[in-house]
Symmetry: C2
DNA sequence: CCATTATATTCGTGCACTTTTATATTCGTG
DNA sequence: CACGAATATAAAAGTGCACGAATATAATGG
């Protein structure tokens, strides 16, 4: 009679099943990771914190936060790609804002936990 | 008369002041970033999702999730260093668990947002 | 149409992080 | 004590990513 790999585990088969079912799917996991990674960077955190107060254009973010313009532009692109910010164009100026205000809630929760 | 850099901004001085005051301090920002980065990795997310179901030892995590033992060990160390998990030793076995169940709440919130 | 302002993009570089391979450590058992 | 199991650590290899310099694009004003 053969011995399955699961028989070597300390946890029971039922728990293992639950663990595997609870695990986020490949796509969901990837979305979550991208989302969290976006919040796991000092520069992006600064930008988000600023946008939590007020919509701002790239130049204001750059000068107001003391960051290079290209750096801000880069990170805004990243934040856009994971859907954290949006912008509206007005002439030659781009006004950026948070796409979902719940991000502020999230940031507060994390600040408590961290 | 001199022109200060702030005079070039579109946002008013008052808003700028608020933005700068709201910005998390260096240390807080770093803690948040570390914390979020820890959640921004597929392997660590798997481990945390598993621990959300049940305390588990390294070997069970390794086999149950299909990951190398050393990889699990490394990532558990990372998760420990940001205070996301803890463990209790029992003989030669280390049982890992979530340090704060609110992490599950956080994960659910993020899953909604992402 | 030229200059200027605001923003984006391309590209190169350096650094940090993940993973793996190999080895060490710790603990239980015969 | 010798051995095997469970875990950790060290070293090496591969990868990704943030940042900045230079350049491009787009819009406005003269």
């Amino acid at each position: 009679m053969e011995i399955r790999i699961e028989d070597k585990l300390l946890i029971d088969a039922r728990t293992l099943k639950t663990v595997r079912e609870f695990a986020p799917s490949r796509e969901v996991s990837e979305r979550i990771c991208d989302f969290m990674s976006a919040l796991g960077d000092g520069t992006r955190l600064k930008i988000l914190s600023a946008l939590a107060i007020s919509d701002m254009c790239v130049n204001d973010l750059s000068i107001g936060l003391g960051l290079n313009q290209t750096t801000v532009s880069h990170q805004l692109k990243n934040l856009r790609s994971v859907g954290l910010v949006k912008y509206r164009r007005q002439g030659k100026i781009n006004f950026y804002s948070l796409r979902d205000k719940r991000v502020v809630t999230l940031l507060n929760l994390v600040t408590d936990l961290a």
